[in-house]
Assembly symmetry: C2
Homo-oligomer: 328 residues x 2
């Protein structure tokens, strides 16, 4: 295993310590249990947004904590759900008296642990479960579709609405609505290696790729020979657009997300390919995001996410955000 680490057991703690020191103006890292909050306390009367999940998907979610987005994030061990005590401690730390909204990717461990934390939490709370991955209907770690990079879009939109004073029920409804208008699909060219495992999660031949891969390396739709970028982007956009059932002329947000080991040149090339395919379908791209936002350690590959915009969603997307990974 080739990784820049010291003891495998210390990877998460050391990475969090570095993250907290590098972004001390934006976040505060709490230990035992581990969670990340904004550097400043939640304003009184603001609904607090809390997300979390296994580590290895950075910057998701701790890199998305800050004004205009999340109030807190709970990082689990690599590809492992955080625990209810992390979630409960984080929720109590950021409770501004107006309730807590959990934003949870649809995996069994995450959903169960957030539910347990909710049962122990004395304050009003609600949950948005993201399930944007069109690749498969059920998978290794999920019943129903998986939550993947579209979660970033949900967190940005709901984060902006929370900053503007949105109430808990309205934010829950908005999150569900954005999730319902968002679809993603991924492709892997290589595997990744979980530090504690020490060996690759799966193997691909030199000429193979996994179409529809999950963000933990879970199987997707099919393992096929490597194709040209246009063909890959075309298959992903077709699956997404077919499932969205968007009318021609609808404006969309297009996100091309790197899995951690893909050069920026390839991400922009894939963005260009996906954009052309969407244009062919009469779906003009009106908002864009390209980069590593929901990664799978050092996996090579990317995902494509499309969100159907409307005036409210576009306006909330454009609202200011100040996190370690997303700023405008």
């Amino acid at each position: 295993m080739k990784k820049l680490v010291n003891r495998v057991d210390d990877v998460l703690d050391e990475a969090l310590r570095g993250f907290g020191a590098a972004h001390a103006d934006i976040v505060k890292v709490h230990a035992s249990p581990a969670f990340v909050t904004r550097a400043a306390p939640t304003p009184r009367g603001k609904v607090a947004l809390l997300s979390g999940g296994g580590s290895g998907h950075e910057p998701m979610h701790a890199g998305l904590v800050g004004v205009g987005m999340l109030d807190a994030a709970c990082p689990g061990q690599v590809f492992t759900s955080p625990t209810p005590d992390q979630m409960l401690a984080a929720a109590r730390a950021v409770d501004g008296g107006a309730g807590i909204l959990f934003i949870v990717k649809n995996y069994e461990g995450d959903a169960m642990n957030f539910e347990m934390a909710g049962e122990m939490l004395e304050s009003p709370h609600a949950t948005v479960l993201t399930n944007d991955d069109v690749a498969v209907e059920a998978s290794t770690y999920s019943t129903g579709r998986r939550g993947v990079a579209g979660t970033v879009v949900v967190e940005k939109i709901v984060g902006a609405a929370a900053e503007a004073g949105g109430r808990l029920e309205a934010l829950k409804a908005l999150g569900d609505r954005v999730n319902g208008r968002t679809r993603s699909m991924g492709v892997a060219l290589t595997s990744c290696t979980v530090p504690a495992a020490g060996t690759p999660t799966f193997t691909l031949a030199d000429d193979e790729m996994e179409m529809g891969v999950g963000i933990h390396g879970e199987p997707g739709r099919r393992r096929v020979k490597l194709m040209a970028a246009d063909a890959i982007a075309g298959e992903m956009v077709d699956a997404i657009a077919g499932d969205l059932g968007a009318r021609r002329g609808s404006e969309v947000l297009l996100m091309v997300n790197g899995f951690g080991g893909t050069p920026a040149m390839e991400l922009y090339l894939m963005y260009d390919a996906a954009r052309r395919r969407l244009a062919d379908k009469g779906l003009p791209v009106a908002r864009s995001l390209v980069g590593n936002y929901c990664t799978s350690l050092e996996m090579a590959g990317c995902s494509v996410t499309v969100t159907l915009l409307d005036d409210e969603i576009a306006r909330l997307w454009d609202a200011p955000v100040h996190t370690a990974a997303l700023r405008w």
Copy 2:
């Protein structure tokens, strides 16, 4: 070769087209010859900052074009210098009547081509040559030290000063001064593959790393067995600090730069390790940057850059910047 590409000959054009479309609010991509400018014209009387170099190091330099940083960037083919006609066309496009400052990484091809462009350019111009890499004194493509990730720091600082109305001679002197207070060193855990070559640039055994690697995969100081992150960061910080000759108590900027294939967790872990080593030397970290800024395609590994701060440099670092890759 596993890459998300169509025809190898079209990689750069397609990536630039995607980059331009994704960031149309910030940049404008020009073709034949290829260069990238800000979306808005250079204000009359502002010195224009122009950089460039081989592609494959994204976001450097096109991702650093925007208010507070570069006015234009010229991307060459992957790991190949851009040509004088690109530089000349870009310089003329962004000439605001107050002169052009070239910021050039010290490689023979880049330095020669920028010099040729300067000879053909009718406007006043000057050049800052960056050579921050302490690993080797001469290398495959350079006479003298190589310019690497520290170039991002130079571009940020000089960009802020240019935005504030700095004159050509003062900006040239500032750039030289920042370069003189900046040192870097890198380490590679894996090679990268240039699309046009189709095979890895170099090879490393499963337990080896290249200490002091260049950003094109050029050899560094030594090829050694993989070490713990603390030992790697320690060796890099020792080489940098020794060369800088910084007095105890001096505040520094610490940049940990991913080469493209390294997970964010490892970069933050390395940042934590480098920060501790600097603290041991009495060099407190007062400014930080962690992420992929000067990459080598999908190479796994990272570089550490340290800049000795003073009040002027810290103030210019903090000044607003709005580019595709760097914003605050």
